[in-house]
């Protein structure tokens, strides 16, 4: 009976409201930032597992790491949870001193126990991002001896070899290095799951914002962390709404129901630029676009052919006209902004030169190859433009469209001719891309390391050694010089046609200020709304 009367009341209310028309639009509250995003790639909010674009953003803004880098100048690394650190003489141990008197959002103090727990937990759980820590010789079996508490506020981080300190520190700035509230996580532990089943949808950190809620395919809500030890964020709440369709997102931004539109394509960005009340901010992010030429294809394996292909892409036309500024021409394997990144762009479209090289390689009339292209507008447009310029030198490219997972499966099985796709760095150190593009320890089909060089069957024992040596170089300047040399070699000889680096373009209300675009995530702690 109660239910029925409530329903009657509801019906009466509708009739009442309907007679007066719809209520006025609410807009966004002044202390809340509402951003449109695509969160359909989210798997987990556990820093030991999260590795996607969207989750990285949320975790970086809600968890602190031992160390952090300056978003505006990546070369500046400073302490976060750690106050300072020293490297042992043999280079195999880094001792961290933890800042005292700081708290997690829960109110628990941050101590050496939390640091040891967080790092060992990530290694023991062995989810995808664990490899970042595994690189330093940390394994499930030895991690308890490698990351050890030496006092209430001091921790030793031991490694199997004397890796470059900059390499280690950059890796510790990634999400997998997040420091978790040990007490809180342990209170939710069940059957030795390290609290994973709880943490994957919850929060146990100390960053400027807390993660209040994640509704799959709907929204992520973050609240200001009242216990944050840094300067308190101006916004009380951040709401990231899942808006899968860019046109819809644009309409909502124009209408004022979104303060920020994070996922507009180049077309929408061009359309909203200059609109009243809207501004566009842009920054370079670490994503590279490249062609991978499979060396199992005997034609593509010829050095002259590899070089010719680099002259058959109209880089500037694609970046400026086709991609409308969402990409910048970049031809080295380290994205702009990384330690030692090379910004030279020696290659441009030169059909005559390419023909000459093809003739030298014994294929003066060109040849036919396939290109695996994932089915999205950007990749397809790029592939078609490349197809057209390659045809000018007689290289007939057949485009094979496929969905992302499908082309990737084929690529990882080394069954492609040409692969076109993006590559994003896993962490902020040059080693991430150097080990992908310039290392291939074992070119056999069943190799355990499946780097990009392996995927394209590029057998490079010498280069692999050089790249590995660079990861050990303790002198930062010398290390940067090593990477410059590696990039130049790869640029000249490799089966990789590195073409572009992504520009992130975010449209937002001109009321929004203080938003910081970073190379791998953006910071919201200084955001204000007029």
């Amino acid at each position: 009976m109660i239910h029925r009367s409530k329903w009657l009341a509801a019906a009466a209310f509708i009739a009442y409201q309907a007679s007066f028309g719809l209520p006025a639009q609410a807009g966004t509250p002044p202390d809340t930032l509402v951003a449109g995003w695509a969160i359909d790639d989210m798997i987990s909010l556990d820093p030991a597992e999260a590795f996607e674009l969207s989750t990285s953003e949320f975790i970086h803004n809600s968890y602190e790491k031992l160390v952090k880098y300056d978003l505006k100048d990546v070369s500046k690394v400073s302490g976060a949870v750690a106050e300072s650190w020293t490297v042992s003489d043999d280079g195999k141990t880094i001792s961290f001193k933890i800042r005292q008197g700081r708290k997690f959002a829960s109110g628990n103090p941050i101590t050496a126990d939390d640091v040891v727990y967080s790092l060992t937990r990530a290694v023991k759980m062995d989810k995808s991002p664990a490899f970042i820590l595994n690189q330093f010789g940390l394994t499930k079996d030895n991690v308890d001896q490698m990351v050890v508490k030496t006092g209430d506020y001091s921790v030793d981080f031991k490694m199997d070899q004397p890796y470059a300190p900059s390499f280690v520190l950059y890796c510790l700035t990634s999400t997998v290095g997040s420091i978790l509230d040990k007490k809180l996580v342990q209170s939710h532990e069940k059957d030795g799951d390290f609290g994973y089943n709880w943490l994957k949808t919850n929060y146990a950190g100390s960053g400027p914002f807390t993660i209040r809620e994640w509704k799959a395919n709907d929204s992520v809500v973050m609240d200001r962390n009242k216990n944050y030890s840094g300067e308190a964020p101006k916004m009380k709440r951040l709401i990231f709404r899942h808006i899968p369709e860019a046109s819809t997102e644009r309409i909502m931004l124009e209408k004022g129901d979104l303060d920020m539109a994070m996922k507009l394509g180049p077309d929408e960005i061009a359309a909203v630029k200059g609109e009243k009340g809207i501004k566009v901010e842009a920054g370079q992010i670490g994503y590279l676009w490249y062609l991978g030429l499979n060396q199992k294809n005997p034609t593509l394996a010829k050095p002259e052919v590899r070089e010719a292909m680099k002259y058959l892409v109209d880089y500037s036309a694609i970046a400026d006209t086709l991609m409308k500024g969402s990409k910048t021409v970049h031809q080295a394997f380290l994205p702009h902004g990384f330690l030692g990144a090379v910004d030279d762009t020696p290659y441009s479209l030169n059909v005559a030169k390419a023909k000459e090289l093809l003739a030298k390689a014994g294929v003066p009339d060109g040849f036919t190859v396939t290109m695996d292209v994932r089915n999205n507008p950007d990749t397809t447009a790029m592939a078609e433009a490349i197809q057209a310029t390659m045809a000018q030198a007689g290289v007939k490219v057949e485009i094979i469209p496929g969905d992302g997972k499908q082309t990737l499966t084929k690529y990882r099985a080394r069954q492609h001719d040409i692969y076109i796709g993006p590559w994003g760095p896993d962490y902020q150190d040059p080693n991430t891309n150097s080990s992908a593009f310039a290392e291939n320890p074992d070119n056999a089909d069943g190799a355990s390391v499946k780097s990009l060089a392996w995927r394209n069957a590029w057998d490079i024992p010498e280069l692999t050694k050089e790249s590995k040596a660079a990861a050990m170089e303790r002198d930062a300047d010398k290390r940067a010089a090593d990477y410059v040399e590696l990039q130049k070699k790869v640029m000249a000889e490799s089966p990789f046609v590195v073409m572009f680096q992504d520009n992130l373009q975010i449209a937002m209300s001109d009321k929004v200020d203080g938003f910081i675009l970073g190379p791998s995530y953006n910071a919201y702690e200084d955001v204000t709304k007029k």
Binding site: K6, W7, A9, A10, F13, I14, Q17, L22, P23, Q25, A26, T28, P29, T32, V34, D40, D41, I43, S44, F51, D126, K127, S128, P129, A130, F131, N134, K200, K215, A216, N217, D218, S219, V221, I239, R241, H242, I243, P244, E245, S247, T248, I251, M252, E254, K255, D257, G402, D403, G404, K405, Q406, L408, T409, K410, R412, D426, S448
Partner: protein, 355 residues
């Protein structure tokens, strides 16, 4: 399917047979098993590595191998299928690769959004579509008929995606009559109980949050009208043709000769008979909307079954795709069954002879 094609005696005999043997259950079970088998096989022949979907591109070989084993991919195909069927029978649709939740939990979370939207959509479609169809049938060949035809054609042939964007642009952006995409405005998001049913109208009403209730209702208007328009197009066309069929029958002539008023001939004599096949049309429209109007949900950022399914497909989350397919298949079968039973009620011939 069967309901729409079978007629008269064949249908009655079939019904009788079903009742006698309990074959109905068997046929439903066989249909579902077939569905399961086909989707399972599709999931295996698609050239996508399900382990890759799970562990990501950068995982180590040992992580990859562990996941491979965990998914049971090292077992023979037949065994994998039998395990799956056994789990489904015990109500376990498996675990989503992407969300790591049991698929039943995921579907329970997303389905209310779709159900709420589809129900209003089909209501609008039926309440507008049937009168329009009747009107068109009565005014056959005249202006009204042509007008209904054109309206229906637009609804039927214009991409719903485009209609949705245009609708948003006009009614939300320009005129400001309706709220934007999504189910509820952010300001009301925390007025609703966390442990609600997921049917936001119901949750808001039960919590006595009338402002939130109204906000949810307002959010429903545009997408529901859009889906309503889409199903209206189909329903009105079918109503017209059923009505024309009935209006040409001899009993109508008899009624006219007897001097029955025209409204009675149309709304009582003819519609009563046309209503029987219409039930199937409406039921199928409803089932169609329930399966998740993928594009509408994308345009309106509506976190329903359609969006979940698309997302699962894009991420090669095969357990989730299989689970959704099974649920959608079950809904189709159930709604068909229901419309069969409604035939019994609506058609006295079936009722009498069926006894």
């Amino acid at each position: 399917m069967t309901a729409a094609t079978m007629t008269g005696g064949g249908r009655i005999r079939a019904l009788r047979l079903f009742r006698k043997t309990g074959g109905l259950i068997v046929s439903v079970a066989v249909t579902l098993l077939g569905l399961l088998l086909v989707t399972f096989l599709i999931g295996r022949v698609v050239p996508v590595d399900p382990v890759l979907a799970m562990v990501g591109d950068r995982a180590s070989q040992s992580t990859y191998d562990a996941a491979y084993h965990q998914l049971g991919l090292d077992k023979p195909l037949v065994e994998q299928f039998l395990i799956y069927v056994k789990n489904v029978l015990s109500g376990d649709l498996g675990e989503s690769v992407l969300t790591k939740n049991p698929i039943t939990t995921d579907i329970r979370t997303v389905f209310p959004a779709t159900l709420e939207l589809a129900t209003f959509g089909v209501l609008i479609g039926t309440l507008v579509g049937i009168p329009l169809g009747i009107w068109a049938a009565v005014r056959k060949g005249r202006l009204a008929d042509q007008a209904v035809r054109v309206i229906g054609l637009i609804g039927y042939s214009a991409p719903i995606f485009w209609l949705g964007l245009m609708g948003l642009l006009l009614f939300y952006a320009k005129l400001g009559w309706t709220p934007g995409p999504g189910r509820i405005d952010v300001t009301y998001q925390y007025d609703l109980p966390d442990d609600g049913t997921g049917f936001l109208l119901y949750d808001a009403a039960m919590a006595g949050e009338w402002e939130a209730f109204w906000n949810v209702a307002a959010h429903l208007v545009l997408p529901a009208c859009l889906l309503g328009y889409y199903s209206m197009a189909y329903i009105s066309r079918m109503t017209r043709s059923f009505m024309l069929n009935e209006l040409a029958q001899e009993y109508i002539i008899t009624a006219r000769v007897k001097g029955a008023p025209e409204w009675r001939i149309i709304w009582v004599h003819a519609l009563r008979n046309a209503a029987v096949p219409l039930v199937t049309v409406v039921a199928l429209s409803y089932a169609g909307l329930l399966e998740g109007s993928v594009l509408t949900e994308t345009v309106f950022a509506w976190p329903g079954l359609g969006m979940y399914l698309t997302n699962s497909l894009q991420n090669a989350d095969m357990p989730a795709v299989l689970g959704c397919t099974l649920v959608i298949g079950t809904i189709f079968v159930a709604i068909n069954l229901l419309s069969d039973l409604l035939y019994n009620v609506l058609d006295p011939r079936v009722r009498r002879r069926g006894k």
